[in-house]
């Protein structure tokens, strides 16, 4: 996706306009400023919060939970997805079941995670893992299926070994789909962890946001929203950047 300068400027303009509207609505009293504190105040609060040791600690806790859940869900899911794609019988049996499982809202299982793991790191990582693994499995299956038979035949006709076929045909064929899968998985993963934190937790940024909401601390709440949004978008853009570099040949 290539954007010209004017398109980029228009995007920036829209973001600024949203913040400006937010500011105006609040300052003029069109919206109760206790419900919607001005954008400038919120951003000032955000800067202030980021200085605090407790908030920094919460961010670290959330980040470590997200990374742990991600690091578990991606290889596990990828392995299962790969086996599913390569084994006809296994695929025929398990695929519909996975789709059923995927369609269930994961949040209804949250109480069970708390009962099993207690309130803490394992509960949140477990729930993050659970929220993520289905999408990883399904995306990996798609990625393996995106490998063209013609390309495998070419490799075979030039005497490629199994390892060469894996690294020179499977991997590059799958990479664009895999990166996309990674990006979407992270969205599910972050959602899962934050949800678990908001539901029952002693620390983490999700827990903080829930507490601020309950205490009607709107400035802090909105600052937290901006914070999490920024983190999510940064990660998303990072993978998208790698994606465009790796899949320039995809047109």
């Amino acid at each position: 996706m290539q954007a010209t300068l004017t398109i980029k400027l228009a995007r920036v303009a829209i973001v600024i306009a949203i913040f400006a509207l937010w500011e105006v609505l609040s300052r003029t009293g069109l919206v109760n400023s206790r419900l919607l504190p001005p954008a400038s105040d919120t951003l000032a609060t955000l800067a202030d919060l980021l200085q605090r040791a407790s908030v920094q600690n919460d961010l670290m806790v959330t980040a470590s939970e997200v990374l742990a859940a991600f690091a578990l869900a991606v290889p596990f899911g990828a392995l299962i997805g790969f086996l599913l794609a390569e084994n006809r019988y296994f695929a025929d049996v398990a695929k519909p079941l996975l789709f059923f499982a995927f369609s269930i809202p994961k949040s209804i299982f949250l109480p069970m995670f708390i009962l099993v793991f207690g309130v803490g790191f394992a509960q949140k990582v477990g729930f993050g893992f659970f929220s993520t693994i289905f999408i990883v499995i399904m995306s990996t299956t798609t990625a393996v299926e995106s490998v063209k038979v013609e390309h495998l035949t070419v490799a075979r006709s030039y005497g490629a070994t199994r390892a060469q076929t894996a690294f020179r045909v499977y991997l590059p064929s799958m990479l664009p789909v895999l990166l996309e899968a990674l990006r979407i998985s992270m969205i599910f993963n972050l959602t899962g962890v934050i949800l678990a934190e908001m539901y029952a937790s002693r620390d983490g940024i999700g827990h903080q946001i829930a507490t601020w909401g309950e205490n009607f601390q709107m400035k802090q709440l909105l600052a937290g929203v901006v914070m999490v949004a920024a983190i999510a978008m940064t990660f998303n853009e990072l993978i998208r950047w790698v994606e465009t570099r790796c899949s320039h040949w995809r047109t």
Binding site: H151, T153, A155, R156, Y158, G159, T161, R168, L175
Partner: protein, 268 residues
Amino acid sequence: MQPLANVTPLKPPPRAGAIEVRNVGQVFRTRSQDVVALEDVSLDIKPGRFVVLVGPSGCGKSTLLMMMAGLRAQTSGTITINGAPIPQPDPDRVGVVFQEPSLFPWLTAEDNVEFPLALRGVAKAERRDKAQDMLKLVGLDGFGRRHPHELSGGMKQRVSIARGLVQDPPVLLMDEPFAALDEQTRMTMGDELLRIWATTGKTVVFVTHSLTEAVYLADEVIVMSPRPGRIVDHLQVPLPRPRTYEMLSGDAFGALRDRIWRHIRKSA
């Protein structure tokens, strides 16, 4: 008519590029029945010849080609290339050119051509030199850095041919390589292929649906019929080389094409 070679008491060692197909059959077993894809196909292809396999869909011409490439096993009979069987692909003896989508889209044209060499661990500099030579041979000098999506259909098939030739095998097998191209490009590519063939002296076995393409390119045309696939005619094409566009409208050309057409119409 058999040439004098048969008179010699000892069998001469097969020259590089000779293909022998002896009583080859192929049966696909499905749950309900056995489908005979090829039945008792025998064929001798001499080194350096340009042989075209033609026939309607389902006559097993591509199957036969894939067997010559070692990509598929026959149910019965033997196939030898350079006098030895080919139970699995052997890039030293056989290069294969497939239909259009076979280039790796993530590699540049030169990396695609180098691919067979890279598999064997040939050093980068040597690989690059050979790829450059091959790209020059197929008329793509200066296009090495492009990716397949930046090349036209004809150019992509030139890259495929370069890839098929990069290890200098005596035999080049081509499975409907120009089927996806438009008519003009197809004609141009035919001429290009004949030029490359004349330069390299390879044995070429070429599969096509097009009768005109078959007669235009070939020294010999093998006509096959479907279900079960077998050889129904083996024509010599006596037209002089180089072949020209004017020959297409000549009587000799028309007579050959009609003869093939009659076989195909019978079996369709």
